[in-house]
Subunit: 151 residues, 2 copies
DNA sequence: ATCAAATACTTTGCATGCAAAGTATATTGC
DNA sequence: GCAATATACTTTGCATGCAAAGTATTTGAT
C-alpha cells in the first residue's frame, strides 16, 4: 500500500480546512471595524435578509451550531444589535429581531463583500460560481440526513 | 443599492465556512476510533510523510495556528503518539518525532481517506481535482504575504 | 385528560483558531 | 564583543464548533 491518500497534498479536506480558516482570518480585520466576528456577521446577514425569525430558522440559514448560537446571540444582544423575544404562541420558541442599530449596520457592512472580493485576484466570476456549486455538493453529501439514509 | 452581495446564498465564503465545518464533523466519528481530532490527524499525516521535523516545518505543512500547535502537540505527546525533542544545534527549535505507537497508527488510519471519500456521492474525481485547484487559489489569494504585497 | 415523546433551546466541557504578549536563543550591526 | 533584532516557540484571553446532558413547552397516543 502506498498510503498515497494519506498525504496532505492529495487531500481535498485539508484544502477546505485551510481555505475556511483563511476566509475567517481575512474577514477579521474588516469586521473588527463593525465590532463583530465572522459568525456574528453571518447572523447579521441572515437577519438583514429576513428579520424577526426564530432561532431554529436562524440556525438553518446560517449553519451555525446551536450551542454556539445561544452564546453568539447573547453577545450580539449585549451589543444592542438585536433582541431575543419570546414567542407568544409557542413559548419554546424565541424570535430574533434586529434593533435599529442592528439594521443601521447594514449600510456600514455594504462595502465588505467587495473588499473581500478584491483579494481574490486569481479567481474569476465563473470560477467562483463553479466553486460555490461544488461546495454545495460537498455540504450536501456530508449532511447528516444523507448519511443516515445511506446506512 | 440592492445589497445582493450581502445575501448568504451568494456568498462563496459562507459556503467554505459550511463545507469546512461539515468536513471536520464528518471526520469526528472515524477519528474517535483512533482517539484523535481532525487537527491532530493533520499533524499525524504530516509526520507520517516526514518524521522528525521542526515545529516551524510542521506549521508550514499543516497550516495550523502556532498557538494552537503548542497545545495540540502537548496533548499528542501525552497520548504517547510523539515526542518533542530539543534541537541540539539551535536550542530555540524543537523537533517532533513519532513514537513507535505514532508510527503504528498509520495502518489503523489507512482506511479513513476511503471512508470519507465514500460520502462524496455527488462529486467525481475530476471535480474533486478541480475543487482542490480552486481552493488552492483561494488560499493563495488570501495568504498574508500576498495581501501585504498588494497594498 | 394524562403521560410519554418530540421540540426548541440552553448549558457544559473540551478542542481549536487567532491575536497579542512573553520567553529563550541566535544573529546582526557597529 | 555587545546591544538591538530577529527567530522559534509558548502563554493567555476570547470566540467559536460540537457532543452530550439538561430545561421548558408542546404534541400525541391512549
Amino acid at each position: 500500500m502506498s498510503y498515497e491518500q494519506l498525504k496532505l497534498k492529495n487531500q481535498l479536506c485539508h484544502r477546505l480546512y485551510m481555505a475556511s480558516n483563511s476566509i475567517v482570518r481575512a474577514y477579521r480585520e474588516p469586521l473588527s471595524e463593525l465590532n463583530i466576528t465572522y459568525p456574528q456577521y453571518v447572523v447579521m446577514m441572515a437577519l438583514w435578509e429576513q428579520d424577526k425569525i426564530t432561532i431554529a430558522e436562524l440556525l438553518e440559514k446560517t449553519a451555525i451550531d446551536g450551542g454556539a448560537m445561544t452564546q453568539i446571540l447573547k453577545k450580539m444582544a449585549d451589543k444592542q444589535l438585536l433582541e431575543i423575544i419570546k414567542d407568544a404562541q409557542d413559548k419554546r420558541k424565541r424570535l430574533v429581531q434586529l434593533t435599529s442599530e442592528g439594521q443601521a449596520l447594514k449600510k456600514k457592512a455594504a462595502h465588505i463583500p467587495k473588499q473581500i472580493g478584491c483579494k481574490f485576484n486569481s479567481i474569476d466570476s465563473a470560477q467562483a460560481q463553479q466553486l460555490m456549486q461544488l461546495l454545495d455538493l460537498v455540504v450536501e453529501d456530508l449532511s447528516e440526513s444523507k448519511t443516515i439514509e445511506s446506512f
